[in-house]
Structures are given as structure tokens and as C-alpha cells.
């Protein structure tokens, strides 16, 4: 088409004035609007959150100006350029304005360049590995996160040694303990599907990717540094959320970041008590079992009121000891529970499907569980119920006997120190870091 332009001036002064007024009004409006920004974002609990939120402010201001400019021009058009009733005439034959078209190509392009530079700077600053990470008691430690459907497990590979000279590993379940100023650097691994570790208050998110266990899996990293939040009570808690669809219980797959006020509080309230508990395991198998069972991901599927578990994918464990003895004729309650834990597919409770993983003594298995741990878990579960079918007076003999009957294994119930920390469900997925993992799980 030969763009036969009419004799309308290139850019009308009125349009320039209107645009200028709108820009002014929208800048003022957006500035006012950004005062509400803290209401739509979680608390700023990490150093990274500050710069991310600054970027958000910039995006809001630019986006707000564009928003008000376009909606405003639409509104003006709607109000002032209506055809009067019965007016069947046409508007001006105005095919375009090269100058204006160049302007509205160049300006957005410049804005894009500006945004790209700002984003790039913030990104490199936030994603850069930091020097002293996961400092605990003056030394760097390794903190690993395992995602499994549908629970998070955090483990600390500490520099403390147990009686055998092996490094102690703390399992803090779905809680990540940290303190203000600690450069947190987590190594993320998944046991099954893709998960995504998101801490909204820290503005960080990273997917967990399945990798080949023979080559050490496919660890990914997530880094943040907690900062003080004005007005927060410490230790402060922030949710961890799974952001990548992982199946039935995706929405329930949550955890908590516990930020202690400083390192001494962290040591006193979390670290030292955890080390102490590992070095001094309770002799009572029931008490031991209560600790051990929480190191596995049973809570992702089962309900157990005494531990505040509320998942409904699998059958409830409330009162399991009352029912265990009646499930299979000729089988003791201890045997039934032991088999249900180590070889879950053997019994599927009516109304449920076969979903539970097989736990067992095989160290190369992702769900490695020693016979000693099984012993204590069975002991704990035997106490769940008013009238237990188990031989409560005589658990120390009944359970090893049951394990021997079911699996043909002898159980060492002397509680050697070495089995206390052999509880990492991700042992087999570690691969490249086997040197440490091996020594702890023998």
C-alpha cells in the first residue's frame, strides 16, 4: 500500500501534552502505589530479598507507568473519540507516523537494556558462591537437603566426632536451623521426582533434579544469608514450600526455616542439644524409636497424633498397636509392624494403594534402615494405642525375635554408638561424597 499520508501534522501538540501529563500522574501514582508493596511480599528475611525487592520496585515503577499510560490513553479514547449516534462517517485517514513508531520502538528497547543490566547485576551478586558457608562453631559444615515425596529432610554433616571417631550427622527433619548472618549454602538432592525448594521469605528457589545415583546424583545448590527482620521474635520461623508439582501430596510438602538470633543461640537451642542426643541415645528402645522414626519421611504419608503428623495418603498410625495383632492370623503384633516397615508391599491396608517404599538393611538402597533402627521404631509403634497387642513387658526380647522370624536377622540391641547416626535416607544418592557417607553408615 502506498502510505498516502494526509496533511495532519506529524505529532499533534495536544498528544504530547496529554502524554506528558499522564507520565507525570502515573509516576506520582506509582510512587504512592509502591508504599503498598510490603503488603504483597513476605518479610525480607535474607540479604538476597533486599536486592530482589529493589528490582521489584523498579519493575513496579516502570510497569506502573506503562500500565497507567496505556489504560489512560484507552480511557481518553473511549471518552473522547466516540462516534455520535447516527454518525456513519469515518475518522481521519492517518496511516502512521514513522517518527512516533521509531520512538516507541527505541524507548522500550532502552528500558529493556536498563532492566537487563540491573537484573544481571543483582543475579550475579545473589548467585555468587560465598566464602565462609554454613559456619558452625568456627568451621564450615555441609548441610544437605533431601526431597522425597512429600517431605523435606535436612542433614548437617558436622565436624564433631562420635565415640568411634566418625563425624556426627544431625538430622533435623523438615526444619532448617540457621542464624542471622550465616551464609547458608544447601546441597539439594531428590529421591524421586523433581521438587523445588522455595523459601518465600528469602526470595530463593531451586529445583531438585533426579540424577544418576552411580555418578553421585545431580546435586543443585541454593544460597542465602538470613538477616534481621525488624519486629520479629527470635527464633523466627519461615515456611519452606515445594514449588514444583511432585504428585498427590505436593501442597503438603512443606518445611520450616528456623532463624536463630545469633550463632550462640543457634548452638544452645539447636546444635548442642542435637549432638548431645546423638552421643547419648536413650537406652529405652521406645524413646529411641520416637527419635528415629522422625528421621524418616513417614510423616509425609501417615497420620500420628502423638507426633502431630496429619497426612492422609497412607493409613493412620493412631492406635496401630491395638490392631497389629489381629491383621494376620498366627502373626504377632511385633512381626506385623516390623514387616510393614521393612517390606510394606507385604500388607496393603484395605482402601489404600501400594505406594510405600521398601525400607531395609541394604546400604546401597536409598531407604536404608538398619535392623537396630527397625527394632526401636517397632518398639515405639508398639506403644501407640490404648491396649497394645505387643508384649510391652518384654519388648527387648519380643521384637528381636520377631525380626529374626520375619527376616532372619539378628539384632544387636546393645546400642552401640555407631548405629545412632546411621540414619540418612539419602545415603545411596550421595555418590561423590561417599567418603563421609560411608564412614557414618557402616
Amino acid at each position: 500500500m502506498d502510505n498516502s499520508r494526509s496533511n495532519i501534522p506529524s505529532i499533534s501538540p495536544a498528544a504530547v501534552v496529554v502524554t506528558a501529563v499522564f507520565l507525570l500522574v502515573s509516576i506520582i501514582g506509582v510512587n504512592w502505589f509502591t508504599t503498598f508493596v510490603p503488603l504483597v511480599l513476605p518479610p525480607q528475611a535474607s540479604a538476597e530479598s533486599k536486592s530482589v525487592d529493589e528490582l521489584f520496585y523498579i519493575l513496579m515503577i516502570i510497569g506502573g507507568v506503562v500500565f497507567f499510560l496505556i489504560q489512560g490513553m484507552l480511557l481518553i479514547s473511549v471518552l473522547f473519540f466516540r462516534a455520535r449516534d447516527g454518525d456513519l462517517g469515518d475518522g481521519p485517514t492517518y496511516h502512521g507516523n514513522p517518527l512516533l513508531e521509531i520512538v516507541w520502538t527505541i524507548i522500550p528497547a532502552l528500558v529493556i537494556v536498563f532492566l537487563a543490566v540491573v537484573s544481571y547485576n543483582i543475579w550475579t551478586q545473589n548467585s555468587e558462591p560465598k566464602a565462609a558457608v554454613n559456619m558452625i562453631d568456627g568451621e564450615e559444615t555441609k548441610i544437605k537437603v533431601t526431597g522425597a515425596r512429600y517431605a523435606w529432610t535436612h542433614t548437617y554433616e558436622t565436624n564433631r566426632l562420635d565415640a568411634d571417631g566418625d563425624p556426627i550427622v544431625i538430622n533435623s527433619g523438615d526444619k532448617l536451623h540457621t542464624y542471622i548472618g550465616q551464609n547458608v549454602d544447601l546441597e539439594l538432592r531428590t529421591q524421586d521426582v523433581i521438587h523445588s525448594y522455595w523459601v518465600p521469605a528469602m526470595r530463593v528457589k531451586q529445583d531438585l533434579l533426579p540424577g544418576n545415583p552411580d555418578f553421585g546424583g545431580r546435586p543443585t545448590d541454593i544460597r542465602f544469608t538470613p538477616i534481621r527482620v525488624e519486629g520479629a521474635a527470635y527464633p523466627a520461623e519461615y515456611p519452606i514450600v515445594c514449588a514444583e508439582l511432585c504428585g498427590d501430596g505436593h501442597g503438603r510438602m512443606r518445611g520450616t526455616v528456623v532463624v536463630h538470633e545469633d550463632e550462640s543461640q543457634f548452638l544452645a537451642q539447636f546444635f548442642e542439644p542435637a549432638i548431645y542426643a546423638i552421643l547419648n541415645p536413650p537406652a529405652d528402645p521406645v524413646l529411641r524409636g520416637e527419635i528415629v522414626i522422625q528421621e524418616y519421611i513417614c510423616n509425609s504419608c501417615h497420620t500420628l497424633d502423638s507426633l502431630e503428623w496429619s497426612s492422609r495418603t497412607g493409613p493412620s498410625l493412631n492406635g496401630i498397636a491395638e490392631r497389629a495383632g489381629e491383621r494376620v492370623a498366627g502373626q504377632s503384633a511385633e512381626e506385623y509392624i516390623a514387616i510393614s516397615v521393612w517390606n510394606a508391599p507385604a500388607f496393603v491396608v484395605p482402601g489404600y494403594t501400594e505406594q510405600m517404599a521398601v525400607f531395609g538393611p541394604d546400604q546401597t538402597d536409598a531407604n536404608h534402615m538398619t535392623a537396630e533402627e527397625l527394632y526401636s521404631i517397632v518398639a515405639f509403634l508398639c506403644t501407640q494405642g490404648e491396649q497394645s497387642d505387643c508384649d510391652l513387658e518384654n519388648l527387648t526380647e519380643a521384637i528381636p525375635q520377631a525380626i529374626k522370624t520375619a527376616f532372619g536377622l539378628e539384632v544387636d540391641i546393645s546400642f552401640g554408638q555407631d548405629d545412632a547416626e546411621a540414619s540418612q535416607p539419602e545415603a545411596a544418592a550421595d555418590g561423590s561424597d561417599e567418603s563421609e557417607a560411608d564412614s557414618e553408615s557402616d
Binding site: 494526509s6 498528544a15 504483597v40 479514547s77 462517517g89 529445583d207 504428585g247 501442597g251
Partner: protein, 563 residues
Amino acid sequence: MATIAVPLGAQEQGQAAEAVQRPALSEYLRWSVDHKIIGVQYGVASFLFFLIGGAMAMGIRLELWTPDLDLMVSGAAYNSLFTFHGTIMIFLFIIPMWAAVGNFVVPLQLGAKDMAFPWLNAFAFWLIPPAAVVVLLGYFVSPAEAGWTSYPPLSTLFSGDGQTLWALGAHLLGISSIMGSINFIVTILNMRPPQMTLWRMPLLCWAVLATSIIAVMATPFLAGALTLLLLDRVAGTTFFDAAGGGDVLLWQNIFWFYSHPAVYIMVLPGMGVLSEVLSVHSRKPVFGYRMVGLSSMGIAFVGFTVWAHHMFTSLQPELRIPFMITTMIIAVPTGIKMFSWLGTIWGGKIHFTSAMLFGLGFMSMFVIGGITGVMLAALPFDIHVHDTYFVVSHFHFVLFGGSVFAIYAALYHWFPKVTGRMMNERLGRIHFAFTYFGFLFTFFPMHIVGMLGMPRRVAVYVPEFQPWNQLISFSAFVLGFSTFIVIYNVIKSYYHGPIAGANPWRALTLEWATTSPPPVTNFVDDPIPFEDPYGYGTEAAAAYVEAVEAAFSPGGSAARTER
């Protein structure tokens, strides 16, 4: 008026206009190679899928009314609900719906008698019903529950047979899409009348051309990804299984290499519709015609370079920056379109027809999707809102605020041409009001819950978000209700609407230079297009509109042409 050429055979058409009958409804239920019949078949079929997908959206919002799982029996049941919602809306509603608009309008705008390959055209449509049966049957046999994105290993090692059916159905729909697109490309490039150069082609044709090029280039990648997925599922391969040496990111790369351009497959035709509607109903030429046409091509091209922004939280950190930059660049051609449309209506004589209202609604809503698109491209901010309700909001602003509003604009604009009768404008305005506000209050608050910490695809959420979710759900029900208004309007207008005549909007493009509905061959003789498809405001244009009206008015034309 030497430049004005009214389609030949106009003298006889005074009578022919009365003689052209609407096709019997039974015509639509059987194999036909007439592009007008096929267009309506596409339209009605995809609208039925829109209703199914919309009902599923209502189910989703009902479940999210409370923080707990209550409507659904399990999280998995909820997962399959949104999986089917997404799959149906994308593959069975929006993409075929644009095939409907393109099929009906493009050959008419080109003055052609039919598409280049009529039989292929019909075949492409008739692949859709069996594909839909395959996909939907999956809902009844351990349904797919890995989302429409179907990331392995969730979709391979952890899913039931419905996932296999999902992949097979998507395969068939991809084949249909490729065949339809080849047809559009050949038709647009070869079947224009000699007077219509590429630079005189209506902008809808430009948009459909750009869309078809994307579909032909990108859809084979979807086919490749689906084939690998199927092999992993049924043949024991390990393309996506890390334990067998595969890579889960391989799927994400191939899938998004199709599925990001697919966003433009879904929205570019809407942009073409908008250029038509805004120009006609504000009685002004499209501002910067060439740049609007070229920006479609620009979006199509750049759209192939941005796929990995969907993987900002899984891709290796050092690879993320380039995709941030390419993604932001898309804002430039999109901005050109937006500003050109504003330039089009600015200073015009706007008629607030229902079609125009939805066109203006598109601009008003799509700009929000564009702004959040740039926000999501900004990598550090995206890390926070990736896979949250912020993203859900963003793509609904693009695909509902964009595509669906444009689909409604196209419906109100071309319904008279399809059926020969006008839609009810009052009902149209009510429909617009319900849709616009229902949509805005459904999807705008999702930005906020997303930023506050609600991930997408969850059936349960923390109780703090309940007030937001109830607002969203309530608005969603309003939005759902609005659909019944347009259904009622279509049925009522089909039987009782005022007779439209050939050119009710007094437009200059060729589809209006024939009877409504057009005869089987579209035009009695080869039509000659007006020199400028959007040349409103000139005497020549006014005379052309007069001549068209005179030629196709019942009862002869002598008196009118004298004026």
C-alpha cells in the same frame, strides 16, 4: 471513481443475495471440504471443549474455596483436574479455535474460493474428535496428573496409563495443527488476487501466516518430545530417566522449545483479529500497518529463542542470563503492536459494538500480561515467583485476557458473515461487563497470593490465603456465568437476529464484499480488493462501501449507486 472495482457479477447478485441460504445444520455434522463449513465445525467443537475445560476450572476454584482438601478425594484427583483443564484449553480450545477463525475468514479476505487444500483441511479437522476422545478417555483410566507440562520423571515413572493416552492424543492434535498450518501458508502465499500484494494483505492474514510458520516449525519438536516420552513409558527406554543415563531437563528443553512458541500460536491470531476489529469499529486506518505486520513476524522469530525462561529454577545458573535477555526483547515488538493499536483508535470515531468492547478489553488486559511478562523475565524476581500463582495470573492475562477476549471479538465481528444475522448488542455488552470484571477480579489477585508465597498446582494451602482465594473463586464463578450469556446470545441471534446484509460494519476487506453467508464458491466471480484494506476516511473508501452495499442489497442497486 476509476479505482473502485466492485466484484464482477454484481448486477446479478442483487437477486443472488436473497437466494443464498444458510447451510442446513446437518451440513455441519458431516465431512465437508468447504472452508466455511469446516471453520464452523472447528469453532463449535472447540467451544464445546472450552465449556468442558471451563467446568474443570470451576471445579478447581471450588476446591480452593477452603484451604483443605474437601471437594476432591485426593491431591492426585485435583492434579488430574488442572492437568485436563490446561490440556483441553490449549490443545482443544484455543489452537483449534484460531483454526476456526482462520478457516472461515482468511480465504474470504483473500478473495479465494476455498483453502489451497480443501481435503487436507477437512482431514485436519476430523483428526480432532478422535484425538479428543483419546485425551478425555484418559480421565477415566488412572488419569494424567503431571500437569499439562508433564515433566518426567513424574510423567514417566510415577504416572498411570492416562499419561500414555494424553501423549497419544496430543500427538494427533499436533499432526492436525501442522496440516492446518501448511494449508494456511500455501493459501496465503499463493491464492491472493493479483492486486493484493503482501503489503496490501489484511493483518489477520499476516498474523495467521506468522502463526502457521511457528506451528510448522515448532510442532515437530512437540512430536519429538512426546515420542521420547511414549518410548520411555511403553518401550523401556530411558531418555528422561537419570538412572538409565537419561536427563530430565531434556524433556523441559524440547517441550518448551515447542510450548513457548505455542503461546504465540495462541495469541498472534488474536492480535490479527484486533487489528481488524479496532480499525473497522473506530473508522480509521491501522496505525503503522507495516510495523504491525512485521512485528508479528518479529514475535514469531524471537519467540523461538526464549524457551528456557520456563526453566529458570532448573537450568544451570550460568545459562539463565541469555534467556532473560531474549525474553525481554519480545516486549519490543509486542509494544509496537500495543502502541500502534492505540494510534489506530486515537482520534477515530469509535462505535462501541460488542466486538469493539472485547477488542478494547483485550488491550486493557493484555497489557497487564505484557508487564508481568517483563517482570517474569527479570531473573532475580522470577526466582521468587517462578511456579507460583503469579505465573498462573500472568499466563491467564495473556491467554484469557488476550486470546479469549480476541476470540469473543472475532465472534461478534464475524458472526453476521457466518450466519447472515446480527448478534444482540445489548446482550453482548452485558456479556462483556461480566467477562471483563469477572476476569479482572479472578486473575489480578492471583499476582498477590503468588508473591506472598502460594505455589501453583496445590490443592491445599495455608489458611492465611483463604480470603484472597475466596475472592478469586467468587469472581471465577462470575466469569463462568458470563459464558452462558454468550451461548444464549448466539442461539437467539442465529434464529432471530436482525438480517445482517453483506457488510454491516461497512468494512473494506474482501470478506464483506459478498453475501452473508457467502455462497459456496464465496464470490460469484473473481473479486477485486479495495486498494487499501484499512483506507477509511477517503472518498474512494466511502464510494467502495456504497458500491458493495448497493450491489448486495436485496431489490436492486440502481437508486443507490446514483448517490
